[in-house]
Symmetry: D2
């Protein structure tokens, strides 16, 4: 069955990636695009500066962009994908939910709210049950589900796979691509021949979101995982693909071989955009690498490698395409999960 | 007083940096340059493909390059700086010491030998006393002192400053510049728009060298520091300057403010090439950055920043110019220390 | 009909691109791979350091690499693609032709020989008739056809389209990607934050090859086009895609609009790997750009843009993927042409 | 003698470079800094995001930034350097001149006005005489002198040197660094692994400014040089240093050797910031290169190389540091010329 969908914040970096994914999608059909009032009323091809190397889909190019306002789009849209900047999302996403829309959002606002499911379908699809609580509490006909931050998504599937050994303590250092900051987020003068050891708010997001994602849901309430997570985030001169160095400590002992098997065999729910397998584990010590591995499985696979012992635990590297798996693709997966579980 | 010096392996990346530092040096006068047999017999300007942005010093350009062999250079050279590849250094450096030469070496061979002092003058100048043991055991008239690996040097001064709180456990992730691999070490196809989460042998070097540098010397024997060190090393598309994310845990509690003071006030021996202060601590959370900070104090200063609490300890970033502070400058400092302590 | 093919020099940068193109090719089936004696006897997956972001095809990975020698491969191979280094090609390609093999070669040796067709199928497919002359003169059962240098291919289709106005004089400046020099051709220390205004032999190749390609063939002899061509070649920090600035002067007057139409309507022979259209002409003044446009039509299309008047002629920019359209894809197109015209 | 100076537009990329040059300058003493009203009233260290690798000068850091308005700064400032954005400069620079200030401006507005001298001191110091005409016509006590665009400055000294052979026709392709667009001018997403064959208005500036600079001044009026100039401008992923490929045709014949001598011996007026020699000519065919040569003579020298015959003329490459020689340093040189010729 096909569902009609819209994209809130369709002109930005993640918005363009959403269109790239949704246009050929077998289950979704784009009917609405919104952007800021500067762009409203223009055909999409004029409103957006298209910067993806595959051409802008022709039918999408002619859609007239609407204001980002519940009154400005059709009632009969089944699902909205939101890639709004956090401050804008904070202000308007709830309005859409109140007006009855189901929203799958990449925007960072409200991710940690107690009644908002933060979901990676392969990891914690069961958290979607929280939508009942959400609707009760907020009196919404619509619903809001969030995907986590790109740097969080890169790491959490590997941690979820290893949680069978009882995660107790995580250190993670990130090497993040410039696209994570949006098209204008990092100037060339800042990053060529350089690296920046700070991304505002990123470490806090990784630490809190990871523990929510790895936590349990008893049908009424979420519990937070009690592992500690400490992150150090860096921007480097790479276009796409976040690479992360992880140290994991466990309650039980885990060998390199057991960890590899746990990652390779880790499976979640199977959705149209799911990669197979979810996690590719390299034996070559110098993989994964952003440029070589970010496009695996249409940019939806998590790659891991360099598994080795490290004093009191294990050490490894992981990688994902930050605007596909880590943003637009994450929202699409959540949309597919909403469809499959009957929320549309 | 001026000492006559020579450079072993003068045509490589670190060799060129050594010449850049030694040519204007007030205490040293270059009298000999050696390289592989391909280059021997040629004037230096023809033997070396000079790639530093300051021009090749004119008097150096005309020196005839000798073979890397004790018989090929003058007897009356007070001090040799070695930037030989490790495998070559392994083979020939001891021959020079046996022939009576004092060698300050950047080459990684023998760094962990029990009777070879591995020295950062500001951190463990007292380890130089090990040369008496070395001469006794090896029957040398000459002597061999080593400086550590560039990624180790970047971190150890900050750790030494913090050891007043009792270092117990270190995690470190590195973002290393391409010059650390030599001029031909990393191809452009490997690293543009990419990062490589593996540098052969680098993690082991950081782990073992750090503990040797931070250890004590009782006049007869070295003791290794008992902190654990776990490193994760990455190559990124930056020309010069290694950036590192450090997590440090302590036996005693250390606040951010105490740690800052410890770093800012940390002082070692004062030599001609010493930076002042040894460690610059930034308050801006996004500093240090390789391109902005690697040239501080002629490339000899260690920069730190981003000091913050991290669960059971502290977290911070540090940076140093890898071919100056981390290699050529490190060897020059050790040469200055040898001069000051009467070994020349 | 399917033809059996082999790749000479299969482990290098262009060799890997050839395998990427030939493995899924409907008309060609890879039966032999050759490389230097270091690699001979090993399965391809061990002989080649695969660096393309799509995985190495599984069946190809297990092929045993042969020596690059006519005696080392099967007799019944219909067509050999050669991506041998020029000096090696110079030595052995003729041996293959003499042994009866038909060779479509990207190697730069013999490109300017009077009896060797230098072909871009869309531009001068008729030059293939020169093979009769070649076989007569050299007494070969086999045959040798060459494609031009990557920087030449980028420009010549646009010039061919404009030759209806009578090309008289060409100036061209190139901004060439590092992959054009092979995987190890340009080190990261050479090119990050830099540009190099010299590529050995490249300007001469562009000048001579262009005039041969644009020349006529009367069934017996080639004539060289009498336009003058002056090139200035630069290497820049781009991975793939050569961008070129062209100034063209004509015997007859040509308006911007006429030039655009000439390019857009320019058509050549239609082969399985031909792009459609051959030349994409952008109206946006800042296109084409290497990263945005090099993958168009599977990397086989020529892009042009920035058409404008320029004193005594016209000015424009053009771009092609240098290892696809400009090398491996060029050889594959020539192989398809050989098949279509009955040479296999 | 020391002159008091101010900087209009002191917080931008060129403004920071101006401060870097003026702070240690023997003849100039900074007394005033202006910026937009957002910054006015703040100490400079807070108003500017300092991004040069040498630290912000301490005394400058504490200067209170003023509004860019003649009423907001002291009357007794001898000379103002302007690095205002063109649109702002268009609006306010004349106000400063009318209020009696002498302005040396890098802002592109009014460069082509008939009574505004556009000056590179080594090339056309005599054009400064036009200030008499300017003051007559505009009734100013102050005066306005302009330096050309960075890409123009890179090329014109070499052309001036060659004009003894009678320049008739110039083609030039540029490879321009990102700093030429200001700190925020080029995003990392636009330029990493890419090149952009268009810089708005740049080609027109190179064409018109070059002919004005190379023209004559008869004491009353300027004449424009009658050579034709055709430019093709590209942005590449380089931080600083514009590299240009030039083809020059002449009325008289010029050999490579004569051209080299003309460039090497070309001298202009000698000012405190003048490089010596003005033009460095490399014999190595692969020089100049941006990273290796942009810092020559404190970033004030023009480098040339690759001199070779080219059909009807000569071909060569040239390079200059675009924000030093090409912008801030160009304005400082003009300030020095104004001082030497008694205009302050």
């Amino acid at each position: 069955m096909t569902h009609t969908v819209g994209v809130l914040g369709a002109t930005g970096a993640v918005g363009q990636r959403l269109i790239q994914l949704l246009d050929p999608h077998p289950e979704f059909e784009i009917r609405a695009l919104t952007a800021s009032s500067d762009s409203a009323g223009k055909p999409y091809r004029k409103a957006a500066k298209w910067r993806i190397s595959t051409p802008i889909p022709e039918d999408i190019a002619e859609i007239t962009v609407a204001e980002t306002d519940p009154g400005a789009i059709d009632d009969d849209i089944d699902l909205l994908f939101s890639s709004l900047p956090s401050s804008v999302g904070e202000r308007v996403e709830s309005d859409f939910c109140e007006a009855g829309y189901v929203v799958s959002s990449n925007s960072s606002n409200q991710r940690m709210a107690e009644d908002v499911p933060l979901v990676i379908p392969e990891v914690n699809a069961d958290h979607l049950g929280l939508l009942e609580v959400q609707r009760d509490e907020r009196g919404w006909d619509g619903a809001m589900v969030k995907n986590p931050n790109c740097s969080t998504i890169t790491m959490v599937p590997t941690l979820a796979a290893l949680d069978e050994f009882g995660l107790s303590r995580i250190h993670v250092a990130t090497l993040q691509a410039v696209s994570g900051a949006g098209y204008d987020g990092v100037t060339s003068m800042e990053i060529i021949d350089n690296a920046i050891p700070h991304i505002g708010g990123e470490e806090e997001k990784m630490e809190s979101e990871s523990r929510k994602l790895l936590g349990g849901f008893d049908g009424a309430e979420l519990s937070i995982h009690d592992a500690t997570v400490s992150a150090s985030c860096n921007r480097i001169p790479t276009l796409d693909g976040h690479l992360e160095n992880v140290w994991a400590e466990f309650e039980e002992e885990a060998t390199v071989e057991e960890a590899r098997e746990a990652m390779e065999s880790y499976e979640g729910i199977d959705l149209p955009s799911s990669p197979d397998p979810l996690i590719k584990v390299f034996e070559e010590p110098d993989r994964p690498q952003p440029r070589l591995d970010r496009e695996r499985e249409d940019g939806m696979q998590i790659s891991a490698g360099g598994l080795r012992e490290s004093g009191t635990g294990l050490q490894y590297n992981c990688l994902a395409h930050n605007t596909l798996r880590g943003a637009a693709g994450a929202s699409v997966l959540n949309g597919e999960l909403l469809a499959e579980q009957g929320y549309l």
